[in-house]
Structure formats: C-alpha cells, structure tokens
C-alpha cells in the first residue's frame, strides 16, 4: 500500500542478513583457519517518475529528475582472506601457512577441496589426514616406526628411521593458490571448493613465489576481529531499529488516512 512500508521491510531484512554474518563470525572466532565474511548491500532499482534531461520546453531541459528508490538488498558475501595470527601448539603435524596458498584435501568422492586449517593427524595407515579423515594431497605416507617427523618451511617432510642417523625425505607438500580466493565456495568443515569465479588453482611448493611459508608446530587462528564485530553489531541493531521506526511512522500515517 505505502511504498515506504516495503522499503523499510527490505532494510530490516538486510540488517538481519548482516547480523547472520556477524553471528557466524563470532561463533567461529576460535576456528582454525576461519576467514571472516560480511554481507555487501546494493540499492534496488529506481522507479523514474520524471526523467532527468527530458525536454521541459523546446529550449530547456530538466536539470534533475524524480526517482524513487525501492530499498536495499544483500548482493554478496565478501570474505576477507587476511592472515590470522599464529598460535604455537607444539604438535609435529600442526602446520600454519604464512602468506598465500591453501592446502589441498582429497574428499571421499574424489574431488579436491582447499583449506587453511593445518591441524593434521596420521591415520591408521600412516597417511596424513585432516580432522575428518580426508587425505592431504599430495599423499605422504609416514612409515610405522618413523621418529622426529619434521616439515620444513618449504614443505619437505623428513623423518628419521631407527638404526640410522640420516634424514629420510618423504616428499614435499604442495599448495594451491587462486586468482580470486574470495570467489571460493565455502563447503563447511573448514573446506573451500573451486568455482568458476575463483579461477583455476595454481599449484606450487611453499616458500616459492606466490606462496607463503609453512610453520610446523603452529596453527593459524581465525582472522575475526571481535571488537570490530561487536561495533558492527551495534550499528546493525540501530539500523534495524531505525527501519522499524520508519515502518511505525508509515503505519501511523495510514492510520490517519483511515480516520478521515
């Protein structure tokens, strides 16, 4: 009935979406390798009631027009891939990436997913797996009685076998990087999937150009800035209140109309 009612409703919906993102960020503020996200808004189409530049007479033109906007909508989720701080844990298979790049994980259905979560474990066969049991690519198998597993900052995995002091090189971890990491599809379980928007992955070893370094014994914590989230939450709540005030005002104006 009144346009302003529905415009304010779109505003409340948008603030609700932003609050959903903020809650998700706060809930994951302790998740390893989590990258915070925010909703981005755009204004909806405008209805032109008077076209600017139209001729008002043969010699003159209208300098401005009359347009009514129709509200707001959430158009994208922007995910910030800034570096999270490194926390020391001391586990030999906890790896943190400093810089660009993602670990490559093989999912049970054969596809590859990407993650920044470097808390790896060994499964029963000695393969390096994530907390959900998915294999790290390229597959590196640690022999049963190996000791002193160490991962260099370029990804080489070495162990010492009993009976010899020489280091045995088991392989080198490879990372993947994307032109547009914000275009990756979050699948949950700390994994991202490649999409048409993210570009194809470029693989390489850590500490080469375009890739960051690996740190063994550290984990990358989430990059959520809790203070910023709380301030954004205050802003969102007030914007929600202001939109509801606009709805109340429209309602009162309609009430006056019915009292004529």
């Amino acid at each position: 009935m009144m346009r302003s009612l529905w415009i304010s409703k779109s505003g409340m919906d948008a603030q609700q979406t932003q609050l959903d993102h903020i809650s998700n960020n706060l809930a994951n503020s302790a998740t390893t390798g989590y990258k915070q996200s925010h909703a981005q808004f755009e204004d909806l189409m405008y209805q032109t009631l008077r076209q600017s530049g139209a001729n008002s007479s043969e010699q003159t033109q209208l300098p401005t027009g009359l347009q009514t906007g129709l509200g707001v909508r959430a158009v994208a989720t922007s995910r910030e891939f800034t570096q999270g701080t490194l926390q020391q844990t001391g586990n030999s298979l906890d790896l943190a990436l400093q810089g660009e790049g993602f670990f490559q994980i093989e999912l049970p259905d054969g596809t590859t997913a990407y993650t920044r979560d470097g808390s790896f474990k060994l499964n029963a066969d000695g393969q390096i797996v994530t907390n959900n049991g998915y294999l790290l690519q390229p597959g590196i198998t640690v022999p049963a009685n190996a000791k002193n597993l160490s991962v260099g900052n370029d990804g080489t995995v070495t162990v010492t076998m009993p009976g010899s002091t020489a280091l045995q090189n088991l392989g080198q971890l490879q990372l993947a990087s994307f032109i547009n990491p914000a275009g990756l599809d979050p699948k949950g379980q700390n994994l991202f999937a490649e999409t048409a928007a993210s570009g194809t992955p470029q693989t390489g070893s850590p500490n080469s150009e375009h890739f960051g370094t690996l740190s063994q014994g550290f984990l990358e914590s989430s990059n959520v800035n809790v203070v910023q989230e709380l301030v954004t939450m205050i802003q969102t709540q007030r914007a929600y209140e202001l939109n509801s005030k606009a709805i109340q005002t429209s309602d009162q104006m309609l009430q006056k109309l019915g009292q004529l």
Binding site: M1, L5, W6, S8, K9, M12, D13, Q16, I247, S250, D251, L254, Q255, L257, G258, L260
Partner: protein, 242 residues
C-alpha cells in the same frame, strides 16, 4: 442502497482472509520443516451491461514458498535436515507416498522408523525397520545404519530422498504430493544429520503484511460507514419531503 457497500464488503473479507493466512504462517514460525503459504489477491470484475465500474477483490493461496529455512544443530542422531530442495518420502495415512521436510525421526515400538506424527518413513524398498537394542545413525546420503552392542555396524536401508523439479501440492495433512504420482529417488540428494530445519516464514514480511491488511480493513470499514451515512441522509431527505 449504494452498491459500493458490496465492493467494500468484498475488500474487507479479502483482508480478513489475508490475515488468516498470515496468522497461519506466524503460528508456524517454529514448526520444523514448515513452508510458508503464499497468497495473491485477484481482481474479479462484475459483468453486466455498461462500463465495468465494480471490481471485487478475491484472496487466493497460490502455493508455498520453497526457500530453505534456518538449520538448527540439535545433535540428536535421528534428526535430519535436507539440503537444497530435497524432500524425504513418507507414507501418508491414505497409503500414498508423500514428501516432507520435517526430519525429526523416531523408532516406534515395532521398530519402524517413523516421523514424529507416526508416519512410516519410506526407504528404497518400502518402510524402514530397525532391529531392537541398537544405536541407529543416518549418513549424509540417507543410508540408515545401526550399531549393535558388540560394535558391529550394519546398514538397514536408505532413506528415499527426492528433489522435485516442479512445485508440489500441499495436502490437507500438511504433506506434499506430486501431481504426477511418485517421484524417483535422487541419488545425489544430501542431508545433514544431527540438525533440524526450521520454518521458512519471514517474520518481518509477515508483520508488515499484517499492518497493511489491518489498515486496508480500516479503510474498507470507513467506506461501509460512508455508504451507510449516505443512505441515512437520503432516507432523511425522502422523509422530510413527504
């Protein structure tokens, strides 16, 4: 009596029916797997000789909203939330296959896997039965497996999950049925175990629609009062003249 009073009456009745659908949606804002009812108002012109000056308004329900509701993690092994547009097949009270998104399942006294209202859940070979004294669990592709006391894990069936391409019809029992009969099982459908899907009713939109319906109802009442006032004045004129 000016016939405008009937047009206003139809408008007021339409707003009352609109309010009924909105109250129905708002009452189900916490129902598991509820799909909001959509409505549209149709114009019904009065046919007759001369110009069509009177157009009645008629409220119709045009189907349901198929956006996904919020997912709530409960941690209960037999709670499932379907991903995407998939639905779970259950056997309705009339014996036909119906679909639902309400994924809170229990094992009844006879060992059948049923929904909370007692309807048997259909697997790929009919209703699924679970042997006694086991811990059941459901995998993301719908496979139901049970773990016995000695640790052995066996599969007892797979939930029939369908992904309808066209919108289904909602029956009187709240279950959805396909107009073409039974839908084939979708092997790629996924579900999330330990979670329940809430209702997809948007409370903001419902409240704003309720404000609009209430104010329009007031306007219609004003028109009816105006028609009555006009009639009263006209009758008074006739009385005084006679």
């Amino acid at each position: 009596m000016d016939r405008m009073i009937y047009v206003s009456m139809a408008g007021a009745k339409m707003n009352m029916q609109r309010q009924e659908v909105l109250s129905h949606n708002l009452a189900n804002v916490s129902t598991t797997g509820f799909r909001a009812e959509l409505q549209a108002v149709r114009a019904v012109p009065v046919r007759g000789d001369g110009a069509s000056t009177r157009v009645y308004a008629l409220d119709t329900t045009v189907g349901y909203d198929d956006t996904a509701g919020p997912i709530n993690f409960t941690g209960r092994a037999l709670d499932v939330a379907m991903r995407g547009q998939s639905m779970m097949a259950v056997q309705g009270l009339d014996g036909t296959e119906a679909y639902t998104r309400a994924g809170s399942l229990v094992v009844d006294a006879q060992g059948n896997l049923v929904t909370q209202s007692g309807l048997p859940v259909l697997g790929d070979g009919g209703p699924i039965t679970v042997p006694p004294d086991v811990t059941p669990s459901i995998a993301p592709d719908g496979t139901v497996s049970v773990r016995q006391r000695d640790g052995n894990v066996t599969q007892v069936g797979r939930l029939k999950l369908v992904t309808p391409e066209a919108k289904l019809d909602r029956g009187d029992d709240g279950l959805f049925r396909s107009p073409v009969g039974e839908l084939p099982a979708d092997p790629n459908a996924q579900l999330q175990d330990g979670a329940l899907e809430g209702s997809n009713v948007n409370p903001i939109e419902t409240m704003v629609s309720m404000i609009t319906a209430a104010r329009q109802f007031e306007t219609q009442m004003k028109m009816i009062k105006t028609a009555e006032e006009d009639e009263r004045v006209a009758a008074q004129l006739l009385r005084n003249g006679g």
